[in-house]
């Protein structure tokens, strides 16, 4: 079998092209993974920054932790709605990511988180049981 010089050049070109595509794919995957990590770190940082204010709202009995893993206003007062909304949005993003990883639903992840929160909650925190009833820990 004879391979002409032109054939060798063509094969070399093909090899270079496929290497180039492989490089592109690897770069894309790596950048996506880095993006996810960066997002996770951003969310974590935001949540940690909100902790004191959310802690104060809980201590005042204005917000509680519902059984779905989100913050909810317990009394009629809706102070710092944006803060509560932002916290819930970030929580939802985390639950969605975990649900995707574990191939389950966002609701289940939220409910599992609600259990963890209830266990860790300090005395006096408003919590919601599975039936939707609010109680003070």
């Amino acid at each position: 079998m004879k391979i002409s010089a032109a054939g060798v050049t063509a094969m070399g070109k093909q090899g270079k092209i496929s290497l180039f595509y492989l490089f592109l794919i690897v770069s894309f995957v790596l950048s996506a993974a880095t993006q996810v990590l960066a997002n996770a770190n951003d969310i974590k940082a935001r949540m940690q920054a909100r902790l004191p204010e959310i802690g104060a709202l809980k201590a005042q009995g204005l917000v509680g932790e519902n059984y779905k893993g989100y913050l909810e206003f317990v009394s009629g007062t809706t102070a710092k709605v944006e803060l509560v909304q932002a916290e819930n949005d970030d929580r939802r993003a985390v639950y969605t990511a975990i649900a995707g990883q574990q191939k389950t639903t966002v609701e289940l992840v939220g409910m599992r988180r609600a259990k963890q929160i209830a266990e860790l909650a300090g005395p006096g925190t408003w919590l919601q049981d599975g039936g939707g009833r609010w109680y003070k820990k």
């Binding site: 902790l51 802690g55 574990q102 599992r112 963890q116 909650a121």
Partner: protein
């Protein structure tokens, strides 16, 4: 005359004996009904909850620790 009687007697006896040797076959069928065997698919339940809890711990571990220290 006596011989004739004996002869008739033997004929009658032979007839009765042959009639007595009948075959009686009782056919009985015993059908045992088997319930259909149901092959249930084996459900391997992987406890998703444990995996989810682990993932939640991994993410919220630091935050929970900070919250507990700061008074959640």
């Amino acid at each position: 005359m006596k011989e004739i009687r004996i002869c008739w007697f033997l004929v009658a006896l032979g007839f009765l004996l042959t009639q007595g040797c009948t075959r009686h076959e009782i056919e009985s069928k015993h059908e045992v009904q088997m319930a259909p065997i149901e092959i249930k698919p084996i459900h391997i339940t992987i406890d998703v909850n444990i995996k989810v809890d682990k993932a939640l711990d991994d993410f919220f571990g630091d935050i929970d620790q900070a919250a507990t220290q700061g008074g959640k």
